[in-house]
Each structure stands twice: as structure tokens, then as C-alpha cells.
């Protein structure tokens, strides 16, 4: 176990199972976003939560503009956590940008991952002549503008907010600390790394089976992107949710949990011992 990585990435391990389920948060949030999902898996899995460097309660001093200048650096955070906890055959659950970091990590060290559950994935946000990502470059410039303006008043935006939850005051405290410690400069650079990334060429190299959870009316990862992924990611299963938006694990946790459980149960029935061998599937 590497205590440096555990502290650096604010790793939390819980649950009563032995099989690891590793949750990777999306851009703009931290591991708190999984709080509506993890209780449903605590009996059967070892739950691993972490924050990327620069998010939540991670150690921002570990931020290095070169390492985190591409998604590979964030994928390395995922692998560092796997190594620190000696995870093998983990169920990886990633949201948004973490779908791509999960794919990159699983390509690099496939033995660490048994299945990937990818929520709101997109390999490329910007439209190309032969590809619909959903955004023009100027749309994303607009996002950076909105981020800059909110980060101007970052202290206000993330100032401690008294949550009206008299029964669980510790919840409010935890959130305050968590949200307040996200570094705006890192978040700003993470946005550029995320939204200008193009990982389409990596997709055929994935050898780990995956579930793609696609929301209806997702403004960030539209359905056409889900379809693209299904046809380009070997061993993927696309499941379209009734949930709308980009964060079904927060807005529709019950439907999300059911979809995850269905997939895991079906996979367990189909492959009771080990993962299928996808090595025969070559790049297209």
C-alpha cells in the first residue's frame, strides 16, 4: 500500500465485499457525487472512492501541469490508486471524463479491471467533419468563460452553505470542506484537457468488457455519441436510460443502480468464472 497515493488522491475504502468497485468522479465534482449509488453495493463489494489531484480533498501540491496536461495523467491517478490498494479485477465505474480515463487505464493495465461501467461517456466533444461530438469549439470557449466568471467569485460560489439538514450536520461540514478545496486554476485546465481531448483512436484497443449508460437528452454526451461508442468499443453493451441530463447517478440513482446491477448479474451468469477473452478482437 502506498500511503502517499492514498493521501494524495483522498482515497476512501468501505463496503463488506472483497471484489473491488472503483468509482471515478467526473469533471466539476469529486467523490461525493457517488453517495447515492455506493450504498447499494456496499454489501457485496469493496467500495473504493478517490478524488483526482486538484479535485475535492486531494493534495493540490501534487498537481503538475505536464502530467495533468492530458487525460493520460488522470488515467495514471486511477492506476496509482489501483497499485496502492493492489486492486485486481475491479469493477470500474466512471462518470463523464472518467469514462475515458477508465478506458485509458484499462488499456494500459487490463489485469486491474474486470468490467467498466461508463456513465455519460464521450471520446470527443468537439464536432469533426465525420463525427458528431455535440459541440463546436466556440461552445466550449463559452464554457471556459462561464467558469472564469464563476471562479472570479469562487469564494462566494463555494462558500460554506448551511445545509438545512438538522439531523445530519456532519453532512454539511463534509460538503463544505470538500467543495471549498477544489482548486479553480486546476479545474480550469482540467476543463480544457477534458473537452479538447480526442480519444477515438484509443477505443478499439480496449479489451475489458464495458457497459455504456446513456441518458436521454444529455447535453454533454448526446445519444449519437453513445451509438458511436457502442460501435467502436469492443465488448461494449449500450443501455439507454430513461433518465435525462448528464448525471443520472445523482438525478436518477435508482434507475442507474438497477442498470448497473442488471449488467453485473447478467455478466456473472454469462461468464461465471472469468472475463471473456476479447483478445481475438483486433483494432478495426
Amino acid at each position: 500500500m502506498n500511503p502517499d497515493v492514498l493521501a494524495r488522491n483522498n482515497v476512501h475504502v468501505s463496503g463488506r465485499g472483497t471484489r473491488p468497485m472503483l468509482f471515478a468522479h467526473g469533471f466539476g465534482c469529486d467523490q461525493n457525487m457517488w453517495r447515492y449509488i455506493t450504498p447499494a453495493f456496499e454489501d457485496d463489494y469493496k467500495i473504493v472512492l478517490f478524488d483526482y489531484v486538484g479535485a475535492g480533498k486531494s493534495d493540490v501540491r501534487a498537481y503538475n501541469a505536464d502530467r495533468y496536461g492530458t487525460l493520460d495523467g488522470y488515467a495514471q491517478d486511477v492506476l496509482d490508486v489501483c497499485v496502492a490498494l493492489d486492486l485486481q479485477d475491479a469493477i470500474y465505474v466512471g462518470h463523464s471524463v472518467s469514462c475515458m480515463t477508465g478506458i485509458l487505464a484499462a488499456i494500459r493495465e487490463p489485469e486491474r479491471f474486470d468490467r467498466l461501467i461508463l456513465i455519460g461517456a464521450s471520446p470527443r466533444y468537439v464536432n469533426e467533419p465525420d463525427y458528431v461530438g455535440g459541440f463546436e469549439r466556440k461552445d466550449l470557449e463559452g464554457l471556459f468563460d462561464v467558469m472564469d466568471k464563476n471562479y472570479l467569485g469562487w469564494a462566494n460560489f463555494l462558500a460554506p452553505v448551511v445545509m438545512k439538514n438538522a439531523e445530519r450536520p456532519e453532512l454539511a461540514r463534509e460538503l463544505e470542506e470538500s467543495f471549498c478545496s477544489t482548486d479553480p486554476n486546476i479545474a480550469r485546465r482540467f476543463a480544457e484537457v477534458t473537452f479538447f481531448a480526442d480519444n477515438r483512436a484509443d477505443l478499439p484497443n480496449l479489451r475489458t468488457p464495458s457497459l455504456l449508460l446513456q441518458c436521454a437528452d444529455d447535453a454533454i454526451a448526446p445519444e449519437v455519441v453513445g451509438d458511436y461508442l457502442e460501435s467502436h468499443v469492443p465488448g461494449s453493451t449500450l443501455r439507454k436510460l430513461r433518465a435525462t441530463g448528464h448525471c443520472p447517478h445523482m438525478s436518477h440513482p435508482d434507475e442507474t443502480i438497477a442498470a448497473m446491477k442488471d449488467y453485473l448479474a447478467e455478466q456473472a451468469l454469462r461468464y461465471p468464472v472469468a472475463a471473456p477473452d476479447l483478445s481475438a478482437i483486433g483494432p478495426e
Binding site: G142, V161, N165, A219, M250
Partner: protein, 362 residues
């Protein structure tokens, strides 16, 4: 239009339950048409992403969000900058998110300017630090050559020198040393400003640090005709500090004291090991006291500003700095969790106080 603010209520999946006439008018669309859609459709594409990645998670996790900047898009395709306060209520039925929306057209223009100015200032500060650091390195290399060749000449390596030649070479060597000190100061300052200075805290004996400083400065104290002493209590006082940085601060303060105190004056260091008694964390204060000219009250804080020097006439040109010593010393003290302050009376002298966290008792 009756309400001064836009109001909109929507579910977790963004479905608009109600939207008031004010907001509909800003968007140039009938409220009924908008009420059949979702909240993020009111937004520009960039704001939609921000809503999904920041605003909604915050609202869901915290139950409320305040002063969120978003940009709406009206029927004519124009952006409408707004600030949004939102509250979420989870009753027995479906959770509802309620937002009050305020238009910020004027404010948005000012913020735009502020952002441009902020970016320009950040970039200028970065370039300045980079320039200072590069320049210092570039200058240091030829200076090292000057120092080496000066030393060679002075030591008679190329044959004996006449008295006149020795005097001139001595002048060159003194000027070289002075320049090296100035460049070190600039480099230190550039590093401090860009936050690149590492301090490695350990337990340091104030007595040992002062003894070392005294050994180094003894010739200059004697040359200046001053008396120097330090408090015996220094030997019992331990601080949490980086020993090299503490030495640097002490040397800087003592060199200043020597420079600004007339002959037959006194420089004394007193140590108060119980300075933090009663406060949350124990601290040690090191007071460097001189009987020099003192600093006028209105100049007291300015002396810690970079590139500020008070009366340059008091100091011979060969010993003048660039006015970075105190600024560097204060930054270093702060980087070690302490501070550097001054009290002074014109004509009587000054007391510079370094305060540092006390080392925990063994």
C-alpha cells in the same frame, strides 16, 4: 412584467414546472412554450455544460447554490448574462429546484474587463518572475568569471602587482561581490514571488543560529566600531524553522543594523521564548535592536515593500542593495509560519522582531 427577477422551478431531470413572465420576456418566448421544455435548453451551450458539471451537482449535494453565473440565450440568439440563486426542496413527492434569476448586463461588462485585467496581471507577473530569474542566472555566469580572474590577479597568479594595481583589483573584487549579493537577492525574491521556495522545517536553536551569524559578521561589526551582544536566553530557545532561511533573515537584519548604526552604537539581539504564552500556539520572538537613525512612522510598513530603500545617503554606494532584503526576509518568515515586524523611533533606533513557532518540547 410584474416581478423584478426571473423565477423558474424545475425537477432533477431539468423539466420546467413553472417559469414566470419576467424570465419569459427576457428570453423573448411565451412562458407556456418554455414550460414544456427543460431548464438547460434556456442556456448557452457553455452554460449547459457548467449546469451539468457544477451547478446541478452542487445543488443536489448542498441543497442550495448561490450567485452562480450563467448565460441564457434568447429567441434572437443573443446571450443574456444572469446570476442565479437556487434552493432545492425534497418533499414527499418529486424534488423541486427553485431558482431566482437576476439579469447582470452592466455587471457582466465590468466583470469582462476585470477578467481581462486579471489575466493580463497574472501573465505580466509570470513574465516578470521568469525574466528576473533568467536574468539573474545569465548575469551570474560572467560575474563568476570576473570573481575568479580577479582572485587570480589579486593573488599574484600572473606576477606581482603594484600597490596601485592591487587597489584597483580590490575595487573590482568588491564591486563583483556586491553585484553577486544583489543578484542573489533578486533571484530569491523572484522565487519567493512565484511561490517556488521550499522551506524544510526542523528544530533550530536560536542560540546556535546567532552564534554563527556573529562569527560571520564579527569583522564588519568591528570595522563599523559597534558593540554587539545577544541574550543568553537564546541558547534555551528552539524554533520550528528552516535553519538556512533563519540564518538568511538574521544576517539580513544584522547587516542592516550594522549599516544604519553610527560608530560606537550598539546592536543587541534579545529573545523572548514565551511570546505566544496564552495564545493558541507558542512562539519565540527574536528582537534585533539597534541604536541607529530609526525609521519615520509613516515609512515603517513601506520598508517591507520590494525595491524600497529609505535614506540611501546613509549608505556608501558600494554597500547599497536593491531594497529586497527586508521584503525577502518577511516572506521567508511567513513561509515558515511566522512573521517579521518592526518598531522604530527616529533618532533612537529600530527593533526588528522575527516571530517563529516554538519547537515542541522534547
Amino acid at each position: 412584467m410584474d416581478s423584478p427577477a426571473g423565477l423558474v422551478r424545475f425537477t432533477d431531470d431539468g423539466r420546467i414546472l413553472r417559469l414566470n413572465a419576467t424570465l419569459a420576456a427576457w428570453l423573448g418566448r411565451p412562458a407556456a412554450e418554455l414550460e414544456s421544455g427543460t431548464f438547460d435548453v434556456l442556456l448557452t451551450p457553455g452554460s449547459r455544460v457548467f449546469y451539468q458539471t457544477h451547478f446541478f451537482p452542487l445543488l443536489k449535494l448542498q441543497g442550495r447554490a448561490e450567485e452562480i453565473y450563467l448565460s441564457l440565450r434568447d429567441a434572437a440568439g443573443q446571450d443574456v448574462p444572469v446570476l442565479v440563486n437556487a434552493v432545492r426542496s425534497e418533499g414527499s413527492g418529486e424534488a423541486v429546484n427553485e431558482c431566482a434569476v437576476v439579469r447582470t448586463r452592466q455587471r457582466d461588462r465590468f466583470e469582462e474587463q476585470l477578467l481581462i485585467a486579471k489575466k493580463a496581471a497574472e501573465s505580466a507577473s509570470e513574465s516578470k518572475s521568469r525574466f528576473l530569474s533568467m536574468m539573474s542566472h545569465e548575469l551570474r555566469t560572467p560575474l563568476q568569471s570576473m570573481a575568479i580572474f580577479g582572485e587570480l590577479l589579486a593573488s599574484g597568479g600572473h606576477g606581482p602587482l603594484t600597490d596601485r594595481q592591487r587597489e584597483d583589483v580590490g575595487g573590482i573584487q568588491a564591486a563583483t561581490r556586491n553585484l553577486v549579493t544583489l543578484i542573489d537577492d533578486i533571484l530569491n525574491f523572484a522565487r519567493l514571488e512565484s511561490g517556488k521556495v521550499d522551506v524544510r522545517l526542523e528544530t533550530v536553536s536560536v542560540g546556535t543560529a546567532l552564534t554563527r551569524a556573529e562569527t560571520l559578521l564579527r569583522p564588519r561589526i568591528e570595522e563599523a566600531g559597534l558593540t554587539f551582544s545577544f541574550d543568553a536566553r537564546a541558547h534555551g530557545a528552539d524554533v520550528r524553522a528552516d535553519p538556512d532561511r533563519l540564518q538568511q533573515i538574521l544576517l539580513n537584519l544584522l547587516t542592516n543594523a550594522i549599516k544604519f548604526t553610527p560608530r560606537e552604537g550598539q546592536v543587541r539581539v534579545e529573545v523572548d521564548a514565551d511570546a505566544g504564552a496564552g495564545a493558541k500556539s507558542p512562539a519565540v520572538q527574536i528582537h534585533v535592536r539597534d541604536t541607529g537613525a530609526g525609521v519615520p512612522p509613516d515609512q515603517l510598513e513601506r520598508i517591507f515593500d520590494p525595491f524600497v530603500q529609505l535614506d540611501r545617503r546613509q549608505v556608501p554606494a558600494s554597500r547599497r542593495g536593491v531594497g529586497l532584503g527586508l521584503s525577502i526576509s518577511r516572506e521567508l518568515a511567513r513561509a515558515m509560519g511566522g512573521d517579521l515586524t518592526v518598531e522604530s523611533e527616529v533618532g533612537k533606533g529600530s527593533v526588528f522582531t522575527i516571530e517563529l513557532p516554538a519547537a515542541a518540547a522534547e
